[in-house]
């Protein structure tokens, strides 16, 4: 680290650089970097599993991996990507780094709990790696009973324990954010002056707090049932096999919004900054985030339309699902409208952001198709659904994560990334992504079920296209590792505000000093006061910049 920071002014990076000073830090910025290291590791583990899956599916006979191996691969891909990358991705890294900076606080409310969250996360990560090395688990990330409790031949209990422990990390992080945003805002930082990223993290924290415990209980019951042989979901005792699904999706549907809400927050920041224009309909955007967070709890049984729930329940949940689309639609239209009469520059973060809007729109609209009851009867549990949720989670969340990472990279490291390479990576990501997942819509409508290690040879051409796309995507995702790594050492020094953005985080030096601000800032202006006509802007402390 010393070489990286050699020519930088005093900052949180230079304060003290022993190993202990990092491992025992209570500085939210350092913890953000610790989390960044952890989730990057898991992103590549999950990505490795994905690569194997796509390679395996090149051949309809499925001869590359043994069937059990294949089943373990997609399970591991799901578990790792959902709980060890997507859910913590933006909140624990960008959220941890930026929330105190954006609201003008010196740290999060409970710094020690924040550090504990990282340790708990890593413990759960070790358990999941243990599970992977002793032989993995083959239930799919959804752990459906009675398969998981009585018939699965993998290590279900370690996997459930890993996710259970992981939940504590989620809860600690969410709790910290909620309390921090309520209690530590700088003078003048009213709710309606919060950057949308802060709103998004607030919304997501509420979902984390109220949904995660239900998953914890559900998985505890699964583990106990598997261990003891009798349990709550056991049909032999008169238990309902669908009860597990109700409880699981009560968490796991909101969890989808845990993944996408922070991404929406990031994109709102990026679109407004690079269009040099106030975000269109700020209040609508903020309320839409909160509405999504709440309504996301009302729709879970749309995962169960063909599972044997009552017809009335199907109708009610389908209707509610259409309602959750409303706030999402508002957001898409408002991002688009923000471009109107802007002064748009297409730097890498903006490319990622626009990619996000496009892919999220496709993902969202196909979401409406699967929410339509009779269409879902056909496409449920086929590749259509796979494509749909990858458009949201990979096309959406991962794009926004990369966009945000590039945008705040100068703030985090004090260095600029190479713009040219970053744009190439952004464009290749977009193309590779579509090539990977668009064919899966077609496969799904043709009727290819998910989690098949071998399939009808008639479907091969689409699978080959998808695998080809995946290899492009793999390259696009590893590229930033290289040029961002390079920029750590050789990147140009960044000033405090390279993007001429309005948030409080840009008022302090890059990288920020240990307690963020030399003096607590006073907020006098709403966010996003950009003027596209002459390029001037008003920062949130009220200072006017030509």
């Amino acid at each position: 680290m010393t070489t990286v920071t050699a020519d930088l002014p005093a900052s949180y990076l230079t304060k003290e650089n022993t190993i202990a000073s990092w491992l025992l830090t209570s500085d939210h910025k350092r913890i953000a970097l610790l989390f960044f290291a952890s989730i990057t590791f898991f992103f590549f583990i999950g990505g490795f599993a994905a690569t194997l899956i796509r390679l395996h599916l090149l051949n309809p006979a499925g001869t590359l991996l043994q069937p059990d191996m294949y089943n373990r691969m997609f399970t591991m891909h799901g578990i790792v990507m959902v709980w060890f990358f997507l859910i913590p991705s933006i909140p624990t890294t960008l959220g941890n780094f930026l929330i105190p900076l954006m609201i003008g606080a010196r740290d999060l409310a409970f710094p020690k709990i924040n550090l504990a969250s990282w340790y708990v996360f890593n413990i759960s990560g070790l358990v999941v790696l243990f599970c992977l090395f002793v032989g993995g688990v083959d239930t799919g990330w959804t752990f459906y009973t009675p398969y998981s409790t009585m018939f699965a031949n993998g290590y279900v209990i370690p996997a459930a324990v890993a996710v259970f422990i992981n939940g504590f990390s989620s809860i600690m992080t969410g709790l910290n954010f909620v309390i921090t945003i309520h209690r530590l805002r700088a003078p003048g930082m009213t709710w309606m002056r919060l950057p949308l990223f802060v709103w998004a993290i607030y919304a997501v924290s509420i979902v984390m707090l109220l949904a995660t415990p239900v998953l914890a209980m559900t998985l505890a019951l699964v583990a106990l049932e598997r261990w003891m042989g009798v349990g709550i979901f056991d049909p032999q005792l008169g238990g309902d096999p669908l009860l597990f699904q109700h409880m699981f999706w009560f968490y796991s549907h909101p969890a989808v919004y845990i993944m996408i809400l922070p991404a929406m927050g990031v994109v709102s920041e990026l679109v407004s900054c690079f269009a040099r224009r106030p975000i269109f309909g700020y209040e609508g955007m903020a309320y839409a985030l909160m509405a999504i967070a709440v309504i996301s709890f009302f729709v879970w049984a749309h995962h169960m339309f063909v599972a044997g729930i009552s017809i009335y329940a199907g109708i009610v949940f389908s209707l509610l699902t259409f309602f959750v689309a409303v706030p999402s639609a508002i957001k898409v239209f408002n991002w688009t409208a923000t471009l109107h009469k802007g002064s748009i520059s297409f730097d890498a973060p903006m490319l990622y952001a626009l990619g996000f809007v496009g892919l999220f729109t496709i993902g969202g609209l196909t979401g409406l198709m699967v929410a339509t009851l009779s269409i879902d009867i056909h496409v449920h549990d086929t590749y259509f659904v796979i494509a749909h949720f990858h458009y949201i989670m990979v096309g959406g969340t991962v794009s926004a994560f990369f966009g945000g990472l590039h945008y705040w990279w100068p703030k985090i490291t004090g260095r600029l990334y190479p713009e040219m390479w970053a744009r190439v990576a952004a464009i290749v990501t977009f193309l590779g992504f579509n090539l990977t997942f668009f064919p899966q819509f077609i496969l799904g409508y043709l009727g290819m079920p998910r989690r098949y290690y071998a399939y009808d040879p008639a479907w091969q051409v689409w699978n080959v296209l998808s695998s080809a796309g995946a290899s492009i995507l793999a390259v696009a995702y590893t590229l930033p590792l290289f040029y961002l790594g390079w920029s750590l050492f050789y990147g140009e020094r960044a000033g405090a505000n390279p993007w001429r953005a309005t948030g409080l985080e840009w008022l302090t030096s890059s990288p920020p000093p240990q307690h963020n601000f030399p003096r607590t800032p006073v907020v006098r202006a709403a966010p996003y006061q950009y003027n596209p006509a002459d390029g001037s802007y008003v920062a949130q402390d009220g200072s006017v910049n030509a």
Binding site: L184, L209, P213, M217, V230, H515
Partner: protein, 214 residues
């Protein structure tokens, strides 16, 4: 006495205390969801197998359960009194009442352990020695599965609370608390009373399900 400065992210000590309490309330909300999910399974099965649950619950040990609830309610009282004395700077009373609370907690665990033993003797432990009584159907076992998971998790929470109170006693002995600084007392007190509340609901779900001979 230690210097009483708030952590750097807070303006005042009062803000820090208030924020810590709010944090515990948030945690309690998550705990409500955690136990709520379990009670949800109970709610569904009880509506579906009401009679079976009533039969099963007749084997639960009502007397021991009520004694335990009385113990916990009393411990909540001693806890809140301890907090008040702590706030007022009455050191000896604070330590005394914390000790009383811890003792009551231990009593609860003792009674609970004895109750488990009795349950074992009456062959109602699923996966160990569960015996379907004549006239009972398999769903009665669901009741007992719920019983053991719920009371077991509650006991774990109570044990954690007990540990926290021991830490408080240790801190109080060293004179850490004063009318200016008593935040840990308040926070642990919230947790302790919440664990008590959980028991109140579990009691209602397990013991008094209708024992009138019909």
């Amino acid at each position: 006495m230690r210097s009483l400065r708030p952590e750097p992210q807070y303006a005042t000590l009062a803000q820090q205390t208030e924020t810590a309490q709010l944090g515990m309330w948030t945690f309690i909300a998550t705990e409500v969801m955690f136990f709520g999910a379990l009670v949800f399974t109970y709610f569904l099965y009880r509506t579906q197998y009401g009679e079976q649950f009533r039969l099963a619950a007749q084997d639960s040990k009502l007397l021991l359960g009520s004694i335990n609830q009385a113990i916990l309610l009393t411990s909540s009282l001693t806890m809140v009194m301890a907090i008040n004395f702590g706030k007022e700077g009455r050191q000896r009373l604070l330590v005394l009442l914390l000790l009383a609370t811890a003792l009551l907690g231990l009593c609860f665990l003792g009674v609970k352990g004895y109750e488990y033993l009795e349950d074992y003797k009456s062959s109602t432990v699923p996966s160990l020695n569960y015996l379907l009584k004549p006239g009972h159907h398999p769903p009665t076992e669901l009741f007992w599965v719920f019983y053991f998971i719920a009371t077991g998790l509650h006991a774990v929470h109570l044990t954690v609370g007990l540990g926290l109170i021991l830490v408080l006693i240790w801190m109080a002995q060293r004179g850490r608390f004063s009318p200016n600084y008593y935040s840990p007392l308040e926070v642990v007190g919230l947790y302790w009373s919440f664990v008590d509340t959980v028991w109140v609901f579990l009691f209602a779900a397990i013991y008094p399900l209708g024992r009138a001979a019909t």
